[in-house]
């Protein structure tokens, strides 16, 4: 079923304070995973809670399956919610936890038993029904929380930073598992995360938030290659930022020149965002003294990749990411002088900044 949020605003504290969520709108893809991505404080968790009904908006609407549920209590919205801390009922067994939603609806004992067993099998924890949450590992608790949320056949599944509290290895495994799981069950899912890699891996529909506002939505590819604002560019992918101004239709950033967006005024100040792997390096001739020469400060080797830290002619730092093979073939070492060639840069006019 579809989930959509229209023009939602929520303020905490005084009415003149900063809004946690401001005029946010987005629409989740039916039967797929939509991620709400953003740094902490961006309002993504608040937005999720607004969808669930755990917070009341100051203005705006929440629509589930086309119906306006803004005034409907959480229990009646038919959503499944998985908390960051899982919020399992610590005094109930795993079985009773998963059965909870059905028990409060007064379903028959036989129905309850069947459904719980079915769900436990689905999350691959069939043997644990008699245990208590305190006896489960983090990853197991997470899956029980998921099973519990799904027990009532919700229209939409809401996950609040579900992998935040887990070890790196478990996180990666569970991510993969969730992806497969969702493909099977086809429940419309909205997932909140601050981890860009996670968001990109899990969904084709990413909503990027900053300071309570929706900054950009789209596929990971679109966000990465066509960022609409400097914030998007810098949040996704750790770019280098160069400052400069427009001269004769070209953005002169430091010692380099890049195409400026069409119609930019002459002399306007610009930011250019260059991704570490969109840069090519060539060893400079010893006598060459052009203004695009940089000095290699340090090489950091991480597996098959190498991070090259440069100091540009104007003293600014720059990070280049290259494969080990490339670095070895060019023969770069610390202390060398190199020529910097920007293959691609996103240029934003100064008044674009957030």
């Amino acid at each position: 079923m579809t989930v959509a949020v229209e023009d939602m605003t929520k303020r905490f504290g005084r009415s003149d304070g900063a809004a946690a969520v401001e005029s946010a709108s987005f629409s989740a893809r039916e039967g797929e995973i939509t991620t709400l991505l953003g740094p902490s404080g961006s309002g993504k968790s608040t937005l999720l809670r607004l969808i669930a009904g755990l917070e009341e908006p100051d203005s705006g609407r929440v629509l589930i399956a086309g119906k306006d549920v803004t005034r409907v209590s959480p229990g009646k919205r038919n959503v499944g919610f998985v908390f960051q801390s899982y919020a399992l009922f610590r005094h109930l067994s795993v079985f009773e936890n998963v059965a909870f939603g059905m028990r409060v609806r007064g379903r028959s004992e036989a129905d309850v038993k069947a459904r719980v067993e079915e769900l436990l099998k689905l999350v691959q924890l069939s043997g644990t029904s008699a245990r208590f949450p305190s006896q489960l590992s983090g990853g197991q608790r997470q899956r029980i929380a998921l099973a519990r949320a799904l027990a009532t056949d919700p229209a939409v599944l809401l996950l609040d930073e579900p992998f935040g509290a887990l070890d790196a290895r478990v996180r990666v495994e569970l991510r993969q598992w969730l992806l497969e799981f969702q493909k099977k069950t086809k429940v419309t899912t909205v997932l909140v995360t601050h981890d860009q890699e996670e968001a990109f891996e899990l969904s084709e529909h990413v909503v990027l938030l900053s300071e309570g506002k929706v900054v950009q939505t789209g596929t990971p590819h679109e966000l990465y290659d066509r960022p609409k604002t400097p914030f998007v560019a810098s949040f996704l992918g750790g770019a280098n930022v160069l400052r400069g101004s427009v001269r004769f239709g070209m953005a002169e950033v430091g010692s380099m020149s890049v195409e400026a967006p069409a119609g930019t005024a002459e002399g306007a100040s610009v930011h250019a965002f260059v991704r570490p792997h969109d840069i090519r390096l060539v060893k400079a001739e010893p006598e060459e003294d052009s203004v695009s020469v940089a000095r290699v400060e340090r090489l950091t080797r991480i597996g098959a990749q190498v991070k090259v830290s440069l100091e540009l002619a104007d003293g600014e730092p720059m990070t280049v990411q290259m494969s080990k093979v490339e670095v070895d073939s060019i023969g770069i070492e610390a202390g060398d002088r190199v020529l910097v060639d920007l293959r691609e840069a996103k240029v934003f006019v100064e008044d674009y900044s957030i």
Binding site: L54, E55, E56, S73, P74
Partner: protein
């Protein structure tokens, strides 16, 4: 009445309604009667009753014995809390549980027990007698009783703070060359001070209003060993409602100030912890 509130869980109206109703009936109504009586009597009469010599002696006695008791508790309560949090010894659990006894034991029981112990022929009273000190029927006896009732307050307020104290800070001080005493004086004690003062204020508030444990051991001699709460009861027995109300008003005023102080101290304590 529309109330702006935060919290989505159901039951706000019901819990608020019931709480306000209960509080109104049990607390506000009776207190209203007090205020009504006080105002109907008139400020002049009230003032006169509140300041007669017998009353003044009672206030003074209540005040200094409570301060003494609370101070004893501050010192030994801190010691107790320290010993319970940091050391191991046989019977520690029992000792920890017993600290709450003054809370659970009826004041009358404490009163007669303390009187028996500290009377001239009592276990400790006779020992004191040998050094020429009389405890029962003197202000000293009152101080002993008030110390008893205040024991849990300092200990239970300081204990949690002591438990949450980081080892690291003490270890850092030790590495920097501080002696154990210096570490205590400069690092540990300042951290405990807010909660210690809060506990002291709580013990003081409790001691000021204490009746049951004192009324037996003090002998209740007017102007000598008669504390304010006892005086109120005496006035009531004589149907001197004005007098009783007057003294009660003074005590309430003092309690209110003390409560304010405690709140401020707790807030200071909480800020100091973060």
């Amino acid at each position: 009445m529309f109330l702006r509130r935060r919290g989505v869980l159901p039951g706000f109206g019901l819990s608020l309604g019931y709480t306000v109703f209960y509080l109104g009936f049990i607390v506000l109504l009776p207190l209203g009667a007090l205020i009504l009586k006080a105002s109907s009597v008139g400020l002049v009469d009230l003032y006169r009753s509140a300041t007669e010599t017998r009353a003044l002696s009672a206030y003074w006695l209540s005040l200094y014995t409570s301060l003494a008791g609370a101070s004893l508790n501050a010192v030994f309560g801190l010691m107790l809390a320290w010993v319970l949090v940091r050391y191991e010894f046989p019977g520690k659990s029992i000792v920890d549980a017993l600290v709450d006894l003054p809370f659970a034991l009826p004041t009358a029981v404490a009163g007669i027990a303390l009187t028996t112990v500290y009377a001239e022929n009592g276990v400790l009273g006779s020992m004191l007698g040998r050094v020429g000190v009389r405890a029962a029927f003197t202000p000293l006896g009152i101080i002993i009783a008030l110390t008893f009732v205040g024991i849990p307050f300092v200990v239970r307020t300081v204990q949690p703070v002591l438990e949450d104290l980081d080892d690291d800070v003490e270890e850092a001080a030790a590495i920097l060359g501080a002696t154990r005493f210096q570490t205590f004086a400069r690092v540990i004690f300042p951290a405990l001070l807010p909660s210690l003062l809060t506990g002291f204020a709580l013990a003081l508030a409790r001691a000021l209003g204490e009746y049951g444990s004192v009324v037996f051991i003090s002998g209740n001699m007017p102007r000598r060993t008669e504390i304010a709460p006892v005086l109120i009861v005496t006035k009531l027995e004589q149907y001197d409602y004005t007098g009783a109300t007057a003294i009660a008003s003074v005590m309430l005023g003092a309690s209110f100030l003390l409560l304010l102080l405690v709140n401020l101290l707790s807030r200071w304590a909480r800020r100091a912890e973060t």
